[in-house]
């Protein structure tokens, strides 16, 4: 890791992801460079199919890039084994999905405590932590409810609580408000605001300008590549590489 990337929690260089080969080759992510500083909230925007979700899964170690490097907290994800990546996801990364991805047969509190149990924590400790997080997202009274008994907004709040259970260095959110109505969206945004204020590093993939507006930085993506980036306070200011400082 070089000195430039040392200042970032998350750093990606020359990231590329191809699907298929020869005539059917699709380049989902095409030469992306990204640096995310500690406590920063970055929103990646773009139309459906531009590769932003694929990028997020690459950054979270759920998928492997065709080429390029990803560094998280000083560790090169591209060189890690599956086991190492699993451990990284358990300890350092939290995921929030558009489809919530809660286990249907588990109650809210059981869903939240699941990553802690996978991490080998004692059941009582995991339950205490999960209960505390549900209180934090305003769902203490819904702890014993099954996902089917919760509204969309409530489900997403459970998913956010689950993403935070390991106290991760990075939270990756994939269209977190994509399936929500405006009231639920506002509630989720409020939670993200709180996380941001508490110094949580966030990367949010979204096509909702309202969500992107809460970020420190907005990055536009098209055909697998970053096209523009902007700070909501500054407006759009030039090319990605110059602004992130990792591209060239």
């Amino acid at each position: 890791m070089n000195s430039t990337s040392d200042s970032y929690v998350l750093c990606a260089r020359g990231l590329r992801k191809d699907h298929g080969r020869d005539a059917s080759l699709v380049r989902a992510v095409d030469g992306v460079d990204l640096g995310v500083a500690a406590g920063e909230t970055v929103a990646i925007m773009g139309p459906s199919g531009c590769g932003k979700s694929t990028l997020l899964y690459l950054l979270g170690g759920l998928d492997r890039p065709t080429s390029g490097e990803i560094w998280l907290a000083g560790q090169n994800l591209t060189l890690m084994s599956e086991r190492g990546l699993a451990r990284l996801r358990r300890e350092r990364i939290g995921f929030v999905f558009q489809a919530f991805h809660l286990m249907d047969e588990l109650t809210a509190v059981e869903n939240v405590e699941l990553p802690a149990l996978l991490d080998g924590r004692a059941p009582r400790t995991a339950r205490r932590r999960a209960t505390g997080l549900l209180e934090r997202v305003g769902l203490a009274d819904r702890a014993k409810f099954l996902p089917a008994q919760l509204s969309g907004g409530q489900r997403q709040r459970v998913a956010i609580a689950r993403a935070l259970v390991a106290d991760p260095e990075l939270v990756l959110a994939d269209e977190p408000t994509g399936n929500l109505d405006s009231a639920a969206t506002a509630e989720v945004l409020r939670l993200f605001g709180q996380l941001h204020a508490a110094g949580q590093t966030l990367v949010i993939v979204t096509h909702d300008p309202q969500v992107a507006a809460t970020a420190d930085r907005m990055i536009s993506m098209r055909d697998g590549a970053f096209t523009n980036q902007a700070r909501p306070s500054d407006g759009i200011t030039g090319r990605l590489g110059a602004l992130t400082g990792v591209g060239g």
Partner: protein, 628 residues
């Protein structure tokens, strides 16, 4: 007509598209149908070789044993006078319909020792000239001579002796002069299934000597007479030919009624009479047990095939949810959708029935050997319309029983949810979820996967219980045979029926284990398909692929353990039921423990194959595919 073409076309395309599943289904039903065909092929398998042996030896239609004073003092009270023997001979040879006879031949009850083995033997005294009725057919060596003994072929094989070997009869040394077969007595060990009166001291002073399985030997008449003693009196054998062999049972009945029934006949010292039909039937006992074993085996195989197909069909339905939605969206009725789903399994069932018939027909000669006691072979069994009908019906029943309910359920599902390919909602078992939180990660995942689809777990447990039942029944059979033969202490002759039964049981066990393995693979495949979303999510939350695949394997092993344990009492019960309520010997605990562990290990090993393949699928692709 158009609908039939559509169903046929969709069936053909789907089978072609999911070849591996189709092959698994085919294998499962073929295993069951082959076992059934083999069971049916053994019907009357020995009747032809017995007839060949009868023709080659000019076998008797009626055999009588007599010459023992059975009157006031009961069996063993001594040899009757020569005059009484002559009188009895006259009575028997003058029965209506008798056209010829040979004998009476003296029959000595002696103890044979050879190669460290000790066995009770009936030694029949014969002249060196060929007899007109029942001249045993030599298959090796030469006929009786002074100092030479001829042994019945099955008995010689069980002893492991051949021509030229030395044996002793009541301590007197003899050389095995020849090996022969006869149609006048059932081959070893079923000699006493027809008339058999062993008068020797071994009956009352048996010790380790088995008097249940008695061998047959021929010696010179002088040698047989010399073996008689007050402690082991001689009896006599008379072989009768009738004008019409079919009337043999009627002649016996006529004789008995004229002499005041069996007791009256005994008063004349005529101990018993055997018709050739009874001897033929006793000769068939060698394969009768085999037939019973195969029928029970076929039943177990069918049960396992149903479980296999049910798991496979369930898994196939889960994969075809979207296809069902599409069919319904373009206007198919639930009935047509159900027909499409069931037609695939029915088509495979018909193919499996055909395969079972061909394989059964081709392999039947391997197991229909009538035994060394008869000459000739049973040949290739004929496949009768009844066999074909029964096999096809069973295959269709297996396919229908296991796929009709899932097909109807899929056909009646909501079109919208089917199009969305939303998985069937999992079941929730709070107690299991709470319990699993205290377990290591692979077990935690395994318990939760089991709890999600409890019905599949019950099916898995039932399938393993069937396998375990079969294996425990085989072990019980082995333990009982070992016990009956005096364990490993030796000194006793092996039982050819038990040997053949063991061979059949091993074949059945292999079929059952193969089907159970198939079940484990199918169940694991279904679990992998069914839990793909939760497995991907679990990996996103930090579980390693190895933990997830171990979880899938545990999800198969957990129901297998109670299934295996349940198979222990069921296996003992099955043995008792198949044995007609006889006495069983419970296998040693370590045998059962080893069986339980082996089954659990086999299930884990087999389940880990699809589990590992499933864990290799990128979690991101699965999570991205489900965004609603």
């Amino acid at each position: 007509m158009g609908k039939i073409v559509l169903v046929a076309r969709l069936t053909a395309r789907d089978i072609r598209r999911h070849k591996a599943q189709a092959v698994l289904l085919l294998l499962a039903i073929t295993a069951a149908t082959t076992t059934l065909v083999l069971g049916l092929a053994l019907n009357g398998v020995t009747s032809h070789p017995y007839q060949q042996t009868r023709a080659a030896t000019n076998g008797p239609d009626l055999v009588a044993q007599y010459g023992l004073n059975l009157g006031a003092n009961g069996p063993g009270s001594g040899e009757v006078s020569a005059a009484q023997v002559q009188a009895d001979t006259r009575t028997l040879t003058h029965l209506s319909g008798v056209t010829g006879y040979s004998g009476p031949y003296p029959l000595a009850s002696v103890v044979l020792r050879a190669r460290g083995l000790t066995v009770a033997v009936m030694a029949e005294g014969r002249g060196q000239a060929p007899a007109s009725v029942d001249q045993p057919k030599l298959t090796a060596g030469s006929w009786v001579r002074p100092g030479g003994v001829v042994l019945e072929r099955t008995f010689a094989e069980a002893l492991g002796v051949g021509v030229g070997d030395r044996v002793t009869l009541d301590g007197q040394p003899f050389t095995v002069a020849g090996i022969a077969v006869t149609a006048a007595a059932a081959p070893y060990p079923n000699l006493c299934q027809t008339t058999c009166r062993f008068t020797g001291p071994a009956m009352s002073n048996s010790g380790s000597l088995s008097t249940l399985n008695i061998g047959l030997a021929w010696v010179t008449e002088a040698a047989a007479r010399a073996m008689g003693s007050p402690q082991a009196p001689l009896t006599y054998i008379l072989n009768l030919k009738l004008k019409d062999p079919a009337t043999a049972p009627a002649v016996v009945n006529q004789f008995l009624s004229a002499n005041g029934g069996p007791d009256g006949a005994m008063a004349q010292s005529i101990d018993g009479t055997s018709t050739w039909q009874a001897i033929s039937s006793a000769a068939g006992l060698l394969v009768q047990d085999q037939q019973q074993v195969l029928r029970v085996g076929a039943l177990l195989a069918v049960l396992l095939a149903v479980a296999s197909v049910a798991v496979l069909a369930g898994g196939r339905m889960a994969e075809r949810t979207r296809r069902v939605g599409l069919l319904k969206a373009v206007g198919s009725t639930p009935r047509l959708v159900a027909a499409v789903l069931v037609a695939e399994n029915l088509a495979l069932a018909v193919a499996a029935a055909a395969s079972g018939l061909v394989i059964g027909w081709a392999t039947a000669p391997l197991i229909t050997n009538p035994g060394a006691g008869l000459i000739g072979t049973a040949g290739v069994p004929s496949i009768t319309p009844a066999t074909i009908g029964l096999t096809v019906a069973m295959a269709l029943a297996v396919a229908l029983a296991s796929s009709l309910v899932p097909a109807i359920r899929a056909a009646c599902s909501s079109t919208v949810s089917a199009l969305a390919d939303s998985p069937r909602p999992p079941g929730r078992r709070s107690a299991l979820i709470a319990l699993s939180a205290r377990l290591p990660v692979p077990l935690l995942l395994g318990v939760r996967m089991t709890a999600r689809r409890l019905r599949r777990a019950v099916l898995g447990a039932a399938s393993i219980a069937v396998t375990s039942t079969g294996i425990v029944a085989v072990l019980t059979f082995r333990a009982t045979v070992d016990h009956d033969l005096g364990g490993a202490s030796g000194g006793q002759v092996g039982d050819p029926v038990a040997t053949r039964d063991t061979q059949m049981l091993v074949v059945i066990m292999i079929v059952l284990v193969a089907l159970a393995v198939l079940n484990a693979v199918c169940a694991a495949m279904a679990t992998v398909v069914d839990s793909r979303r939760s497995a991907a999510l679990t990996r996103a939350l930090g579980a390693s692929p190895r933990q997830v695949s171990a979880g899938v394997a545990w999800a198969q092993v957990l129901p297998a353990v109670p299934g295996t344990l349940l198979g222990i009492p069921l296996g003992l019960g099955l043995f008792l039921a198949a044995d007609g309520g006889g006495v069983l010997t419970v296998p040693p605990i370590w045998w059962l423990a080893a069986a339980v562990l082996a089954i659990a290990a086999a299930v884990a090993a087999m389940a880990s194959i699809p589990a590992r393949a499933g864990a290799r699928r990128p979690a991101a692709a699965i999570l991205q595919a489900e965004t609603t």
